[in-house]
Symmetry: C2
């Protein structure tokens, strides 16, 4: 293995592989070939092998991969081998759904705090989380929370981002349908639900 910059696309795919491996572990499976994993995930086997090769390769020729080991390696690469505390900002419809979302746990995420500006919501408990006043976002620093989910209305997104960045947040999953400006060292991933939908009709056959 020679030095390679890791392609962004490889990093984007690693969680997919992880998702599949966790499922296979659930099923009690212990080993898998790149071919079988690929078929299961709907990707190509050479893509999987190439992706792993950037890290030196995790398998055994002729045998395939040990699922437990592979899982551990990918978790380590993605820094998912520790629990990450999350703050959720905005407990509206989407925010509430995210609070209840069971899928974060398998990657080691723990929603440790929730914030809103609505006085009617502040103080209420949702899924064991007390909703706090969004004007107290600065306390995230004290509580060592470095990841946040923004689920506020579009027009509040930028000011929310500014506040949490000031509070030491290093990574943001942004569900607001807008571009937000942050310092270079802060990573933002935006998921715009309607936008994903918006490119679906393009691929539909004319009817």
């Amino acid at each position: 293995m020679r030095y390679h910059r890791i392609p962004d696309e490889t990093i984007r795919r690693l969680p997919t592989y992880l998702r599949g491996l966790l499922f296979l572990t659930e099923q009690g499976q212990q080993n898998i070939s790149s071919r079988n994993l690929a078929d299961f995930l709907g990707v190509n086997s050479w893509q999987i092998r190439k992706d792993f090769s950037y890290f030196g390769g995790f398998g055994t020729p002729g045998r395939g991969y040990k699922i437990e080991n592979l899982t551990k390696q990918i978790n380590k690469i993605l820094k998912l081998d520790v629990v990450h505390k999350l703050a959720l900002i905005g407990v509206g419809n989407l925010g509430s759904a995210l609070l209840a979302y069971p899928g974060f746990q398998i990657y080691g995420f723990d929603i440790a705090a929730a914030f809103d500006t609505d006085p009617k919501k502040i103080g209420r408990k949702v899924k064991n989380i007390m909703i706090e006043d969004a004007s107290n976002l600065q306390m995230l620093k004290k509580r060592k929370i470095e990841l946040a989910i923004i689920a506020v209305p579009r027009d509040a997104a930028q000011q929310t981002a500014d506040a949490i960045v000031k509070a030491g947040i290093k990574g943001i999953l942004n569900f607001s349908p807008c571009y937000i400006t942050v310092p270079k060292k802060v990573k933002v991933i935006t998921v715009d639900i309607a936008m994903e939908l918006a490119r679906l009709p393009y691929y539909m056959p004319a009817s």
Copy 2:
């Protein structure tokens, strides 16, 4: 302009441009240069011009783009120039949030039906939509609904997909965290919320 296959990445970006243009229209703006639009969206100006050039270009040298015209052109390319009826399958936490989500409207989407398997939910109305029995999915064909959102638990995703494809669905936005198999002519876009989050720690500086 010579013939070019349209890059998938260009199609992926068009909704972003559209989102920005709709916002600018809201603000009362009528014209914009690729430079200004790019800054606003957090992309490069040459990327925007290149993307538009695949369709022949929509601007005027020295002047920029007329927002109204540009919006219309992109809507047409993405086939968003007609209202698309949507079916939502699965009215759990996430599904309910999607029913209430205001963002679909600007792209011309209309959630026209909602389905669930839970007898306690069937018959209830949420946001003016009557929740129907998921065993009646075949009626989507009669109602000319061709797009669906899957928001069911993972283990029900594939059978849901099978049912709606049989009912004539041509495009699926899948929120279930798994790969689903469909005929080639059906387009699936999967949004796995936890997976997006899962690649965030990778980009965080070691602390």
